[in-house]
Symmetry: C2
Subunit: 228 residues, 2 copies
DNA sequence: TTTGTTTTAATTGTTAACAATTTATGTTAA
DNA sequence: TTAACATAAATTGTTAACAATTAAAACAAA
């Protein structure tokens, strides 16, 4: 994807959401964004339209753009979609992964292990999402990969909004077992593991108590004014 | 979805694509669109950004917007995604459809039957797509419904680009059998039928010979200047 | 005719100014 | 103090003008 100003903006917002720096309900003002990313309002508006198409932002006429706050129903639909997509992805992975891919997966597990010992929640969330996206890339279906990118983003939003019982949101043991079944070329087990893993994540979410605190945007995008 | 000028434009373009009036590769000039839909260029630009996010339009810097021309690989990825999503949808349908839903499905089959006798290819394509989207709506998963809307759109593009061996692209017999298994509450058969049906459609596509002819936009959007 | 070059036209990209709307602030009365 | 109202500020929506780039046309040379 090319490095137009609007794409830069979209990527930064998506990163901030998947790191849970940007929380559900946060207002994304046009002026604020155009200042932070030093571009004009036309670019900001295009970027917000794209983010709205990704279901990550709600555009309210005359009011502005807000990070979307998914309902519980939406969250459950979303997890069902993730299961449908990721189970298909893992089937592709078992079929298509070569030695290098499996090595990359093992390396990623090691990274996750390191991060878990640092107790950095933000990093852990990111690493967990990266694991799922690594599988998607190895599966080599660009359509499924793109949809999963959108869905993991929205999952981050949901977990940030409702909270999760488990501190680390992906128990890495499950990741390990998924990789093992891929290495064993055991498609049936791999699919079952992925399905179980996603149901586990969904089950840990504590629907009911929302936490809508938000801060100023300048706190959320610290390094973006250097961008070009 | 609200009736902002850009949404009107997006809907018209999507309709034109799913009816195969707009073919892959067609240039969507900003001036032309803003004239046809009597809105300003800012609206057009936003609409094009949204369509690009839906993967229906390619945005090339300094060149403009073009209806995207999916490759064969992309098409195969897309059909695998459809199978993953529609098989999940049909499971929801079998579980959730009430009597009214099943009546609607039967009514739709009757409509398809009528249209087949008229020999109107454009109408047939539209009706076929509507059948799949009706199932998605009955399944009551908004995430899957939205993704399927995008995928059926892109499927229309692919069939319009590469052509299909069968004149009618959905043999309605298969639709009938899907509805029957829904009415029987037979989830296993319904899933098998949907999977088979989608593989059938994919198998009928004649990859290899492209047909890139396009006409002027004013021929494609005949009734849109009245759209206020 | 065909090829390459220059000139012209058309299209996209960018910016700024202004209008319309919403939000925040301040004031007055109960 | 609270509530309602009027005013001011900030934000979003709209439009037009201009710059930059690309496509088309005209023309000259082989």
């Amino acid at each position: 994807m090319s490095d137009t100003p609007e794409n830069v903006l979209v990527e930064h917002v998506l990163d901030a959401i998947s790191d849970q720096r940007l929380r559900a309900g946060t207002k994304l003002g046009e002026q604020a964004l155009s200042d932070l990313f030093s571009c004009n309002r036309a670019h900001v508006r295009r970027a917000l339209a794209i983010l709205a198409a990704y279901h990550v932002v709600d555009l309210i006429p005359n009011r502005g753009a807000f990070v979307s706050t998914p309902s519980e129903d939406e969250a459950r639909d979303l997890f069902q979609a993730r299961r449908a997509i990721e189970v298909t992805i893992i089937r592709n992975v078992v079929r298509r992964a070569d030695e290098a891919d499996i090595a990359n997966l093992r390396a990623h597990l090691a990274t996750e292990d390191e991060i878990r010992q640092q107790n950095d929640r933000s990093k852990a969330i990111r690493a967990s999402r990266d694991f799922h996206m690594l599988l998607a890339r190895i599966g080599r279906n660009s359509v499924l990969e793109h949809y999963l990118a959108e869905l993991t983003m929205r999952t981050s939003l949901i977990i940030g909004l409702y909270g999760s019982k488990s501190a680390s949101l992906c128990s890495d043991d499950e990741h390990v077992r998924i990789v093992q079944s891929v290495a064993d070329r055991d498609a049936v087990t791999a699919q079952e593991m992925v399905d179980y893993h996603l149901r586990h994540i969904e089950g840990e979410i504590e629907f009911g108590d929302e936490a809508p605190k938000v801060g100023p945007l300048s706190m959320i995008f610290p390094s973006s004014r250097t961008g070009r």
